[in-house]
Subunit: 392 residues, 2 copies
């Protein structure tokens, strides 16, 4: 197994009514002025934003607000947030929302403390040395950004969707009340569940000899999300199912399921990032749309691993060979995606990729041929093109 680091300093406050503690948690950070960052409609309509602001008022914490974050959060709003924080001497950012809002908050945090263009971090030119600390009130179970070191921002100039990871961006605290996710539409719930599963599956598939402890945790986490995702399709108000999924979302991306794995594959995330940048699809849905094609493309690199996944996660009976077992597992996962009304092809999202678009996606995904993606196979631009074509 591989050496690893594990660092998850985020204090989680989980359960009913947890959001009432936001003010007190911020006060414990000893900050002077807070930016409350959020998206649009639902946080305002549900009254959550008012309750959070009331919690800050009770603690006499000065704050300003900045809404308007959209899915696949935009660099332009990040720039606006940076200017605002500097002008108003903000020293703490509270993200109220899901992964997009948290990622936008992280990017603002990095940018405030950096003299250059914050995009430098996302384009790989620079590494962040510090950040304005952030806290989270989570309203969507999906991205795991509340406990992860990563954030993904979309640059409208070229519609490039790029990720950046740094320990200094990790949230100081995350307030997680599963009830806040009950109003999510079915499609977003399903898409979030796929995203959660994929954060562990990306780590699970690698060429290292994994830790037994990590493998079993990963397999159980995926099974738990699958079971509860199905429950949520018919019982969106089921608290326990919302809670299982919400906590799985954090554990799936805080590093736990990657311990000893050498990092994982992550090709599907790279493939989806380009789709998300070009078409603004829901992240989880985009992952579901490419996963099967990716899996069939790389299965021969480690059929045993795919067979283990098929048996332990998908409950498949072993077939005549590891590869045959693994293929049955891939089919079973696609069946599950369909049951969640998730796509298993890009066309299932209403996108008919043209030849030129596939070329462009492959160009961008491979950074114009300058890098490979994934570790099961190191996928070149041509490989990536073929996977997009298969997934079309």
């Amino acid at each position: 197994m591989e050496n690893f680091q594990y660092y998850t300093p985020t204090k989680v406050v989980f359960g009913k009514g947890a959001e009432e503690q936001a003010g007190e948690l911020i006060r414990q950070q000893g900050c002077g002025r807070v930016l409350v960052h959020y998206g649009s409609g639902s946080v305002v309509r549900s009254g959550l934003l008012d309750r959070i602001c009331a919690s800050l008022d009770r603690e006499k914490i000065p704050y300003i607000t900045l809404g308007g974050v959209v899915p696949n959060p935009r660099l332009s709003l990040v720039y606006e947030g940076i200017d605002l924080c500097r002008r108003e001497n903000v020293d703490f950012i509270l993200a109220v929302g899901g992964g997009s809002v948290i990622d936008s908050a992280k990017a603002i945090g990095y940018g405030v403390k950096y003299d250059g263009d914050v995009w430098d971090f996302y384009s790989g030119k620079q590494k962040a040395k510090e950040s304005v600390p952030i806290g989270v009130v989570l309203t969507i179970s999906a991205a795991g950004s509340e406990m992860s070191d990563s954030s993904v921002i979309t640059n409208e100039d070229g519609w490039l969707k790029r990720g950046y990871s740094s320990d200094c961006g990790r949230a100081r605290f995350a307030v997680m009340n599963p009830e806040l996710t009950m109003t999510l539409p079915k499609y977003q719930t399903a898409s979030g569940c796929v995203d959660i599963m994929m954060h562990t599956m990306e780590r699970y598939f690698n060429l290292s000899e994994n830790m037994e402890l990590t493998d079993g945790i990963s397999e159980h986490l995926i099974r738990t999300v699958m079971k509860n995702a199905k429950i949520l399709m018919t019982e969106p108000d089921n608290y326990d199912a919302r809670a299982e999924v919400m906590w799985a979302g954090s554990l799936s991306h805080n590093g736990l399921t990657g311990c000893g794995t050498g990092g994982g594959d992550w090709a599907c995330h790279q493939l989806e990032h380009e789709l998300g940048g070009m078409f603004d699809v829901a992240h989880g849905a985009g992952l579901a749309a490419v996963w099967g094609s990716w899996a069939r493309y790389v299965i021969d690199a480690d059929p045993e691993r795919f067979a283990k996944f098929a048996v332990n996660v998908m409950g498949v009976e072993p077939a005549e060979s590891d590869e045959a077992t693994g293929l049955k597992g891939i089919e079973a996962m696609e069946e599950f995606y369909r049951a969640l009304e998730m796509p298993v092809k890009i066309s299932d999202m209403g996108i008919q990729l043209t030849e030129e678009q596939m070329e462009e996606l492959a160009e961008k995904c491979s950074h114009f041929g300058k890098r490979t993606v994934g570790c099961m196979k190191k996928l070149t631009k041509d490989d990536v093109y073929l996977i997009y074509k298969e997934a079309r």
Copy 2:
């Protein structure tokens, strides 16, 4: 399921050669002078202490040393450490050893920052507000103190063994190289594995409706430790088995396996603390010696839970009733303890409890009748006495 908090800020550096990073990790803490705290023989004999000191020298970090920690670490040495730290302006403590050394370091850390007697925290009179930060180089997989908020100190005045838990005592970092545990004698390895399992079992057994995600992680963790403990009985140098056990030791006591459980039972720990205080037994061995008697005493409070444990962890076939299944699981666990040459009765440790001693243990464990222990059943002094008697 219950609301919960989860907070594990300790940065883990895990794997071969990890201890070489101790100096750099301390430098990142920005401290002025370090106390290197350790036990006795093996850390010195193995050359580990020299390597750690060399790592500090390379980073030009001034340090002093204090050895002499014994199993069931003593309050008198804690006092000595506090005096030393104050005299020498120590602002970081590096524990090089296992749970006893880490717990001693935590107690010193609390004491340096407190005007009164550090025992006030362990006797429940006060709560620590701050601590000198500590770091860990782990050499024994067992207590989980490297990532936990808890520490246990023995007061020679009355041989009282008492625990104290505080987030401010959590280690800033933990350096974990499984190779460092390869020289542990078989008995200590086995005892450590029992301790690790029990940290999760204490959390697993409770009257709440547990999270599915937590339950499955717990069950897999215990199974993984059992499997690898057996391997280590014949292959003490097996790196992978040492690594599985070491990482399980941290995850078992950092809070992960308690999420949503409402806290857990912990009666066995209380029962063992008194044994450890009176007889200086190895903690894990003491836990093994009382667990079966405790389990049979409380099984009727929730036979279903014991049955789940029996089937999912011990691989027992369901019997005619949950209680019958649960009892088979308890027997199977005792069988496993015996296979590890661990005790299943107190007399197996060469201790023949007298009537007076059982009375005294029950008095101390119940804080002289002023508290109950456990949650499966709230055990009074009389209950505790009966369990000691059964375990005798």
